[in-house]
């Protein structure tokens, strides 16, 4: 005890001495070392550089789309149908409708399935059981599987095989839904996990059942997170082309799509098709399509951010 106190006192004296010396040189707080100061400058600069590279890429695409396709930025671009011959009057009508059908189907599938799976994994699954851990691991892995693989899966199981829907928009929706489902599950789980356990305890302590607690406390509190995850997944689904090519989104569909009949096309697929044409006017048309896509994505994402801010919770 007394040794300790002595040490303490000595340390105290040393500190006072150092402080005194500093005060004498007018340097009360001491200076940070050269390294510290350098680090303070270099790291923010590097981070800024990384950010500007990302932003520059985005900006370049937008500028290119505006410069290249700006001349076609009018209502005709959206309302006119596909044409392989007349680039000047051709538009994206069928493609936009096809995209809407596919995205609509995707939303209908991923919201209940994704949120349901997330609720099961977060609220019900006993993590000490091996099968629950296996499911978790698989979902993480599925999120990293290339989209073309899902296209093949869709072709084998949805277009042909057990479901045998044929090359239709519904098959596209199911395929893309499988593709983005893992991301929705992961995002929804994170949102559910972010709800503090004290909220659940408070609800259960009042005599609410587990389901009432989930339904009336956890889900509303996790809503903004689930919504953000879903909209990001939808945005990704909107931009997918590769798996859709395999399940029926094909060249130059000149009729409006329907869910369970006929082939279909989507916006990214159509942009791809137009850009393959040799004529210069079709390149302009493709750029115009890119402009439509970017605009739609910006609208959807702003909507998502708005909703999220509206429902954002703080604990």
């Amino acid at each position: 005890m007394s040794v300790n106190q002595d040490e303490h006192r000595l340390a105290g004296r040393a500190r006072i001495a150092v402080a005194g010396a500093r005060a004498a040189t007018g340097d009360v707080f001491g200076r940070s070392s050269r390294r510290e100061r350098l680090g303070n400058v270099v790291f923010p600069a590097l981070l800024l550089l990384a950010l500007s590279v990302a932003l520059a890429g985005l900006l370049a695409i937008i500028v290119w789309a505006v410069v290249e396709g700006g001349s076609r930025a009018n209502v005709d671009l959206i309302t006119n149908g596909t044409s392989r011959l007349d680039a000047a009057s051709a538009g994206y009508r069928e493609a936009i409708l096809g995209s809407l059908y596919v995205i609509g189907g995707v939303i209908l599938l991923i919201v209940p399935l994704g949120v349901g799976a997330a609720i099961y994994l977060e609220e019900y699954a006993d993590k000490t059981r091996w099968w629950n851990r296996l499911i978790e691991l698989n979902i993480q892995n599925l999120a990293g599987v290339p989209s073309i693989v899902f296209g093949i899966l869709g072709l084998a199981f949805v277009v042909r095989g057990p479901l045998s829907l044929g090359f239709v928009a519904a098959a596209g929706a199911i395929t893309v839904a499988m593709l983005v489902l893992p991301t929705v599950i992961i995002a929804a789980r994170e949102a559910i996990r972010a709800v503090p356990p004290s909220i659940r305890e408070g609800s259960l302590a009042l005599g609410a059942t587990q389901w009432q607690t989930i339904r009336r406390q956890v889900l509303p509190a996790a809503f903004s997170g689930i919504l953000t995850g879903t909209i990001l997944a939808v945005a990704r689904a909107f931009g997918e082309a590769a798996p859709l090519l395999l399940v029926g989104a094909t060249t130059f569909v000149t009729f409006d799509p329907s869910l369970f009949e006929n082939r279909f096309t989507t916006l990214p697929v159509q942009i791809f098709n137009y850009s393959k044409q040799p004529q210069e006017e079709f390149q302009v048309l493709a750029a115009g399509g890119a402009l439509v896509m970017i605009t739609l994505l910006v609208v959807v994402n702003s909507f998502a951010i708005g909703l999220r801010n509206k429902f954002e919770r703080r604990w």
């Binding site: 503090p196 408070g202 009042l206 005599g207 609410a208 919770r313 604990w315």
Partner: protein, 299 residues
């Protein structure tokens, strides 16, 4: 069947002059065989040799005590001695921790809380809980209080129920003009009283409180203590507290728990050292360890 169990519980509560031997329970033996208090008051809880383990690690062992109706019962003791664990057994909140196992018998008005036919959800309707950290729901003040009655499908005018609960929690005058504001905008003390209001809105019979004032300033604490003294007319209250003065001020009975160690100090658990009238515990405790703890010599 669940409803029936609860009916039995409620019924039992009404029979004021309840006799312990009706339930075939023997009076506690050994140092618990004291006395007087068994004759005087109606028992709410009867704990017999209650032990709780988390996995293989014991948290509390062999707690035997009676908790009385319309009393405030305080549980005191050093950190980690299992006060919260014991409290959470009483309304089966420990069921939420998968590794927790409860042994022994806990009866509430004669009904085994851990009986095979008892639904923990029903138990929690009757035995409410207020937590250490105020945990209002991220909703409006009104919805916080209305949540319980709504969820449980209680009959009656919802506005009246909410108002009544807020009045009884001593919060009405402060919040009556801002019932639609988010509860997170309230002060810590108000939030805690809101949690109490939320709890009494569902008309429980017992309120378990786990250090309800530990995050509050002395004025908010005093308000909650006053509130407890009012509430005990209608409810039975069990409170865990680290504040000796608080236990002495508000409680009728006090239980002192203490950490026990094995010889090799490898294993530790909590035990109920002494349980008696608060006045006796604080003036003339039977056990030297209680005296030391209250005098601030240990823990």
């Amino acid at each position: 069947m669940m409803e029936k169990t609860i009916d039995v519980m409620r019924q039992a509560k009404r029979n004021t002059a309840i006799d312990a031997d009706d339930h075939g329970l023997s009076l506690p033996t050994g140092e618990f065989a004291q006395p007087e208090y068994h004759e005087q008051r109606e028992r709410a809880f009867e704990l017999r040799n209650v032990s709780v383990h988390y996995g293989d690690t014991p948290a509390v062992k062999d707690v035997t005590m009676d908790i009385f109706r319309n009393n405030i019962t305080a549980l005191i003791g050093p950190s980690g001695c299992g006060k919260s664990t014991l409290l959470r057994c009483m309304n089966r909140m420990n069921d939420l921790i998968p590794s927790a196992t409860v042994e022994g018998t806990l009866r509430y008005h004669g009904e085994d809380i851990y009986g095979p036919k008892v639904d923990p959800v029903q138990v929690r309707k009757i035995i409410g809980m207020v937590f250490q950290k105020p945990n209002p729901f991220p909703k409006s003040i009104y919805d916080n209080v209305a949540f319980g009655p709504r969820t449980l499908g209680m009959k009656g005018n919802e506005r009246e129920i909410v108002k009544d609960a807020l009045v009884r929690a001593g919060l009405w005058d402060e919040v009556k003009d801002r019932l639609d504001d988010n509860a997170y905008g309230m002060s810590g003390g108000q939030q805690q009283r809101l949690c109490i209001a939320r709890c009494i809105a569902v008309e429980p019979d017992v309120i378990l409180m786990d250090e309800p004032c530990s995050a509050l300033d002395p004025i908010s604490t005093a308000r909650i203590e006053d509130l407890m003294l009012e509430l005990k007319e209608r409810y039975s209250i069990v409170i865990v507290t680290h504040n000796m003065q608080q236990a002495a001020r508000v409680s009728d009975m006090t239980g002192f728990l203490m950490v026990q160690l094995t010889e090799d100090e490898k294993s530790r658990w909590g035990e109920l050292v002494e349980y008696d009238e608060t006045a006796k515990i604080f003036t003339n405790p039977a056990d030297a360890r209680t005296e030391d703890y209250i005098a601030g010599k240990v823990g």
